[in-house]
């Protein structure tokens, strides 16, 4: 006998609606390249993780690497990335990419400790220059949103990318 799968909050639940709005507003900041504004949405103890996905046989019991990510960031590392993009020498984003973060399939689960576990699907469209094919990055995200005095803040994000081999030249973007 297996435990019943937790049910997401109804879409009419105010907590779900708040989480949904948080993710949409966050995506708007990222697409506007307002990275300092984005950092303000993160908890100081953030963990921002994107494991490497791998192709394994059905039944292998794993399809991502436990000890290697594309990202495994704390606040120091994320601040450095944002500081770098603000310098005059971050060539890979100058001229900047045009990005669109499409966020959908949002499901919200209370975790019983005053936080919300929020699952979402992400499709990132990234276009650079005028001759290159655009890139797509498809991923599922599992976030932990924490209620603070300033409102909801992101305490943890795990990005489960849908490709084993990324088709974008780098991750100079946030997902």
């Amino acid at each position: 006998m297996t435990a019943a799968k937790p049910k997401p909050l109804p879409y009419t639940d105010p907590a779900h609606q708040a989480a949904h709005q948080f993710l949409v507003e966050e995506a708007a900041l990222l697409d506007a390249a307002d990275y300092p504004g984005w950092l303000d949405l993160l908890c100081e103890d953030i963990r921002y993780l994107m494991p490497v996905r791998v192709t394994t046989a059905r039944g292998a019991g794993f399809d991502s690497l436990a000890d290697m990510g594309h990202f495994d960031e704390d606040m120091y590392a994320l601040r450095k990335r944002v500081q770098r993009l603000a310098t005059d020498h971050a060539w890979t984003e100058d001229p900047p990419s045009r990005t669109r973060h499409f966020i959908t399939n949002i499901r919200t689960f209370p975790n019983g400790r005053g936080e919300l576990r929020v699952e979402s699907s992400l499709l990132l469209f990234r276009s650079r220059g005028d001759t290159r094919e655009p890139d797509l990055v498809s991923a599922g995200r599992t976030d932990l949103l924490r209620e603070t005095a300033a409102g909801l803040r992101l305490a943890r994000r795990e990005i489960l990318v849908d490709e084993a081999v990324l088709r974008t030249q780098n991750l100079a973007v946030f997902l």
Binding site: M50, V52, V54, T55, T56, A57, A60, L65, D67, M68, G69, H70, F71, D72, E73, D74, Y76, A77, K80, R81, Q83, R84, T87, D88, H89, A90, W91, T92, E93, T131, R132, A164, V165, L166, R167, T168, Q169, N170, L171, A172
Partner: protein, 458 residues
């Protein structure tokens, strides 16, 4: 359709005088020659033993279009075999990693042990008339024509007559130890991160071999934000470039007056790791750090394995921690490369060092690394331009460090404890060394290989 003889001779002659026809970075005919003449012969890195620690562990890796299974068999030996069923050519393993006692072809269920031997096929008697029609004995997936291991690094060559790997590595083995043998335990690899870039594979290989000249400008942002103090031009030009055997690399000059242990502490190695380095490395290897005062940074082993060792600050209190990465520039086409980037760390290192070094790696290199991001932007742009018509009218100047007569503008370093030839300061000695090897391969006719007929008519 390959380049005709005189055209190719002209390209190689230009390359050998340090003038690189720009189209070689985006030319399908050059790419075909690289496939048939270079990658069909050279030793190519596939995997590290730490990626397949236990019997049955496997990873699947490629040499261009050829897929190979790298597996530790039940006896504990590492095997590398061509991932193609002997019967109808299906890939017998379609995962990229895992553990298996057997590989079973999904098409007709021919089944192979994890040492490659054919274990069985359905209806042998009915379909083939038994052993006479198809002798099962001694049939096995095709092994890599040559396979050899050094410091746990598993290489193959498609040339059955390749020289022993250690002979090939030559003097570069001295430098390889700094990255892959810091203690008797050796290194362990994690990853790789894999991603595709629209860049020619040669550009990354040349860059890591010796382009210290790009560091102060391309990577200015990491100095701006205080992530890594060394790349600024005033420090970078004090480093030495060395050429040794089939490899070449860059170093940073360490602060004056430090001894061996002090210099390792300067780049962030904890005291717990230093005695093992002192015991594992030779007097010459210790002297490169302790007496010559140089620390290895980026390097390339011809053709497409690069290594990097840097020591960024990993927290707000300024803690400096070194990391090592191995990376392979896997050619996909003349315009596209798959990058495989591993994090490497001494297997005997303390757990907290492994954690911190991993953090240092992720911030600097790999798919999200703040150094690598800007490198790839450059390489994609070069490749895009190299594919056009005007690139056929331009030879790129790769003569840095030479005068008009082709003589070095300065003498080699006399006090460099490592083997090979080293120059202090900027120069393109290393890239030219890499390109000479490339040229030597491209002018050799491909060998005619014997075809394997398994169970054919007698």
């Amino acid at each position: 359709m390959n380049l005709a003889g005189p055209q190719l001779e002209s390209v190689l002659a230009d390359v050998r005088r340090g003038m690189i026809p720009a189209h070689v970075y985006g030319d399908p005919e050059i790419f075909a020659l690289e496939r048939d003449r270079l990658f069909a012969r050279s030793w190519v890195f596939l995997a590290h033993e730490s990626e397949v620690p236990d019997p049955g562990d496997y990873v699947v890796r490629r040499v261009l279009a050829d897929s190979f299974i790298v597996v530790r068999d039940e006896s504990g030996a590492v095997r590398v075999m061509f991932n193609m069923c002997l019967h109808r050519g299906m890939q017998v393993c379609r995962a990229e990693m895992g553990n298996a006692s057997h590989f079973r072809c999904p098409y007709h269920a021919w089944t192979y042990r994890n040492d490659g031997r054919l274990a069985g096929l359905p209806f042998h008697a009915e379909a083939y008339g038994g052993e006479d029609g198809f002798p099962r004995q001694d049939q096995a997936l095709l092994p890599a024509p040559s396979m050899d291991i050094h410091n746990g690094l598993i290489f193959i060559s498609l040339d059955p007559d390749a020289p022993p790997l250690r002979d090939y590595l030559g003097d570069f083995a001295f430098y390889l130890d700094f990255y892959t043998r810091q203690s008797p335990a050796g290194v362990e690899l994690r990853g790789p991160q894999r991603w595709r870039i629209k860049a020619n594979w040669k550009i990354g290989a040349e860059n890591f071999a010796g382009d210290s000249y790009h560091t102060p400008h391309t990577h200015a942002s990491v100095v701006d934000i205080g992530l890594f103090r060394e790349p600024k031009a005033s420090k970078r030009k004090e480093g030495a470039l060395y050429v040794a055997g089939p490899g070449a690399g860059t170093t940073y000059k360490l602060p004056p007056g430090g001894d061996f242990a002090g210099q390792l502490r300067y780049v962030g190695y904890p005291d717990a790791m230093i005695p093992a380095m002192a015991e594992t490395w030779t007097a010459g290897q210790r002297a490169l750090i302790g007496e010559s005062g140089f620390m290895v940074s980026a390097a390339t082993l011809f053709p497409n394995l690069s290594l990097v060792h840097n020591w960024p600050q990993i927290d707000d209190s300024g803690t400096v921690v070194p990391f090592i990465s191995l990376r392979q520039w896997q050619p996909v086409s003349e315009r596209e490369t798959e990058v495989l980037s591993w994090f490497a760390v001494d297997a005997a290192a303390p757990a907290e060092f492994k954690r911190d070094s991993y953090k240092a790696y992720l911030m600097c290199f790999g798919s999200s690394g703040m150094f690598e991001q800007d490198d790839v932007e450059n390489w994609v742009s070069i490749t895009e331009m190299a594919a056009g018509s005007m690139a056929r009218r331009l030879n790129l100047n790769s003569r840095m460090g030479l005068n008009s007569a082709g003589q070095p503008i300065k003498a080699p370093l006399a006090t460099f404890a490592g083997p090979g030839v080293a120059y202090q300061g900027f120069g393109e000695f290393n890239q030219r060394h890499w390109l000479r090897q490339w040229s030597d391969h491209l002018e050799r006719e491909p060998a005619v290989r014997a075809v394997v007929n398994l169970g054919g008519p007698r």
